[in-house]
Symmetry: D2
Subunit: 346 residues, 4 copies
Amino acid sequence: MIKVGLVGGTGYTGVELLRILVSHPEVEITAITSRSEVSKPVSSLFPSLRGHLDLVFSEPSLSNLTACDLIFFATPNGTAMKMVPELLDTGVKVIDLAADFRFKDQAEWSQWYGESHACPELLSEAVYGLPEINRELIRNAQIVANPGCYPTATILGFLPLVENNWIDCSQLIADTKSGASGAGRSAKISNLYCEVAENMQAYAVPGHRHLPEIKQALVTVSGLPVGLTFVPHLTPMIRGIHATLYANLLDSDKSLEEIQHCFEQRYLEEPFVDVLESGAHPQTRSVKGANFCRIAVHKPQDRNTVVVLSVIDNLVKGAAGQAIQNMNLMFGLSETTGLEFAPLLP
Amino acid sequence: MIKVGLVGGTGYTGVELLRILVSHPEVEITAITSRSEVSKPVSSLFPSLRGHLDLVFSEPSLSNLTACDLIFFATPNGTAMKMVPELLDTGVKVIDLAADFRFKDQAEWSQWYGESHACPELLSEAVYGLPEINRELIRNAQIVANPGCYPTATILGFLPLVENNWIDCSQLIADTKSGASGAGRSAKISNLYCEVAENMQAYAVPGHRHLPEIKQALVTVSGLPVGLTFVPHLTPMIRGIHATLYANLLDSDKSLEEIQHCFEQRYLEEPFVDVLESGAHPQTRSVKGANFCRIAVHKPQDRNTVVVLSVIDNLVKGAAGQAIQNMNLMFGLSETTGLEFAPLLP
Amino acid sequence: MIKVGLVGGTGYTGVELLRILVSHPEVEITAITSRSEVSKPVSSLFPSLRGHLDLVFSEPSLSNLTACDLIFFATPNGTAMKMVPELLDTGVKVIDLAADFRFKDQAEWSQWYGESHACPELLSEAVYGLPEINRELIRNAQIVANPGCYPTATILGFLPLVENNWIDCSQLIADTKSGASGAGRSAKISNLYCEVAENMQAYAVPGHRHLPEIKQALVTVSGLPVGLTFVPHLTPMIRGIHATLYANLLDSDKSLEEIQHCFEQRYLEEPFVDVLESGAHPQTRSVKGANFCRIAVHKPQDRNTVVVLSVIDNLVKGAAGQAIQNMNLMFGLSETTGLEFAPLLP
Amino acid sequence: MIKVGLVGGTGYTGVELLRILVSHPEVEITAITSRSEVSKPVSSLFPSLRGHLDLVFSEPSLSNLTACDLIFFATPNGTAMKMVPELLDTGVKVIDLAADFRFKDQAEWSQWYGESHACPELLSEAVYGLPEINRELIRNAQIVANPGCYPTATILGFLPLVENNWIDCSQLIADTKSGASGAGRSAKISNLYCEVAENMQAYAVPGHRHLPEIKQALVTVSGLPVGLTFVPHLTPMIRGIHATLYANLLDSDKSLEEIQHCFEQRYLEEPFVDVLESGAHPQTRSVKGANFCRIAVHKPQDRNTVVVLSVIDNLVKGAAGQAIQNMNLMFGLSETTGLEFAPLLP
């Protein structure tokens, strides 16, 4: 059994990790920390876990964590980087679900996250935890940077086209829509039911932190400069990301069938990426609560613009599920262990 | 492995049964019938099942079903009763998720369901599938009538008080609220998004079919006449029932602590009934996607009125989950097999 | 033109007052105060008002307010009582949409609102602003206490039965459901989209502040002691209150027709109370955005329990609309001025 | 008073027309037809109109309509074209809210709407009812084709850039999101609450009927060929369209300030188009229930891609409100008459 600790167990990513981990056959949850909720039963905060988990929140101290084999950080950005160096020294493995270890470039991290990085020397060591790109590196990593939700949906949607150099990478567009759980469980007016329900809006159009994360991944894959217009939207639903991706074909004769084939081949062996039949329209609810990314490709009116539709559950394949997928890889388990459950529909 | 067939696999109860059954370790799904969708892959109707189920819909013919050990009927009321007698003759076991076998009194059934019963001789044989009342009978039943969603939440909420004869059964009130999936996956204007969202209303106040079902169960338990005012409401959410129950104590000196103790004792051994601490307010989302009923009791202002709050997921403990709980009992499995997963929150 | 000031213009009640007032033909809005938003255009906080209102928020100082003919307080409980005495001295009229002046009994106010009342001497002078009960008093009032949202729906639902002494007032039940805007525009985790959507729950069952407010009104009307069990629920919608009311007839022979007739007669002349045909089920959306209360009565199974269904928009007839109805009365306008618009459906 | 008739009063566009018209000071509604609901009071179908409208539905016969000055058609596509020629002959004016008269090219209409046009000779006479483009033509029109909802939001968003020839019209992208009322009040499974809530998906990516409508308008304005990728999405809200528009600047040195200025100048005199400050993110709810289009422009990372955000209420500026705006123009009224009300927020 893998002894697992969770730092920051009071947000939506945290409770989602716990939901999946309590049914994981190879995991024993040994510590859940929260500075603000010390000694309170986890199930008092999340009654959904009554009968599944008997732990109380503990202090996020080193001594509470070093007995674990693996620590998940489900903390705000900027928290993990202050604790991780010491933890790694004790031999513990770490998966950070926040952004602290996602960038290779320390200056870029500081620019987008607004502070100096506390352990820049670890940035090169940390593996970007998208198994569909970095599976082998993840297996051997001591620290994994779990990707952001938008980046997961967007990168998986562009990936086959970029790897094959079929599209003009200087003019990519990602129009992305997220459920409100992506904004986290924090008491802000903009997250209130009466602000989100019956409403839709774009946000952060001038620049969102997931833009450089996506660009870094696509540049790494393509070896080319990437120009990306990234427009996220807040949508009145709890879970789900729908990425609508636009790219221009370098060879406009490339047919929809060829594009479809390209995606099917690329993801043939991937357990958690599902390419729908050509012309389909994936629904976010078709992955609700489950660790899938479903993708469909289009070439409307046979013009040279490819449209890729990519959906995930932001809390699962976009956060907690992918983190557990990474854990499985890091500990030599079958990659799908504990993640085989079907989505909840309706 | 139990060979399971499903008649009527195109509604919300059907897809929920499939979601749970595909992860059940002792079940093999061998037939799913739908007259309207013959030969179509089940996953084309429910993309959430892609990768989990490879079956196509077949004709609901006897030959397609008699190879099964157990048939679930997730059909409209009045369908199962026409097929069940023949099936039982072949030795197959049956769980009907509709209302055909829920009433003991044939005349009452006809009165509420508007047609003659096709096999009244089976009504006495069929067991009302609420394990918290009829566990031993279910173990030995060939045919189980799975309870309605409102009755499950309401009966479990009143049960300890009725069994102990603590309340005036002639003046019960059940004010119940249901998510829209309770109305089924049928193309009616009243079920449209734009009719249900941002709206709330009572319906069927003059008389709802679950009223006699609840009364029958409470009369059986109490041995007394039952007077029940039952008011269901349609609520803008997909899943969930919240039953708010009101009863007058026969002895108004009975304290909240005594009532709390009574509930805790009654459900101490029940794997799927969770009594919250006194004064709590259960949320429907605390059971979303899972087979629990959570209950809290109140005695406001220490008056003689008891208020019981009881929540379930109408598609799980109120339908598919309870049906699988019954299946586990009928086949000698541990009652919780395949039902241990945690609720989805948020 | 009536010169109107608004103290506390940053909540949902405030913006709803402004929405209605900008189209009111006899009103000029001259001041909107908010300590936290001084000098900010009101329309920057509420873009829905762009083009309708050019004011900026100002300090809630006496000098900014005494030039007004009428001040609305849309502030948290306990705020108005600290400013009102001075304002009244200058001759200004006041409508408080919070609870400060709703109770006649100073001790009861303190018990439920947790502090001493700042001007108990005004409690007897303040008129409870439910026009259907106190129309003449309101016309002559200098200070009106605008009723709570639950009380408006509940009192109007019970009123004809109580006035006629047809029901047992010692055993009333009000099972009420509210949209999330009733909880206000405050940054609390329990108000987040992801906490409210796809969820339903009761709250404050041991005792809610609207319980004594309802009781006070019904006692005043009936002259009898009132026993009331009041259970509010939070519902995943923005606007709307649905009150489901239960009472036992003193004379169980009273027919549904008689009850229907009683309601129709009582509200025949009321411009904003609409009695539906017997057996109807009012929808909250049938009053969305408008100043109506719609009511239907039932006598299920002809037992002696009357069920009354009463719906309002909590922000309109339950708050801002009723306040403007009161304003119209206080200033000798036609009661419906500026309130004739139809509900928004869907 | 303008005598107004409404053909097809049972859908969401119909009830929205009625909501606005009952408060319009210059309109008398004299006939509402519906083949299926003849003799039924309109308010029995739409209780929101109780107290505002006393009409019953009548047969859609010529004799019921020719006494009117103006007929609105809120019927399915293909209905109006069968009745309009006869009506026009009697001198009645017509506004069709469906698509029958939106295209100039008869062959293109047939291609996208799947049948022959019943009166192609009227296509050149009909005026496309977007006042921001065709105000003078509308004033003198006998028949107006009210624009589609997506086209209204999209055309108004691209218009200043296209008129000034600042963007590459061969590569436009419109990623649009609509509330569910855009799908109409028809009993289809895909419109059910449980199918739409907590879900998001694109649809009709290979080709949506609003694509040629948008192209026709932009071609007319620009005089150039237009290449447009149009991807509509279904969003879990009742009302609202959010159009996110992408275009490449022909001169990439054009600054955001210049673009902002261009939009502000273009819409300076427009009563119903509101250009937000540069960098803003309009919310669909900021126009809920009102006849506005709000627009914001962005130039992310100062690259050569312009992003325009354009929001409307699909039932108001996208349908009924715009139709009444057109009526005002056709009858010489002030363009804003009866349309001055503020949006409903929250």
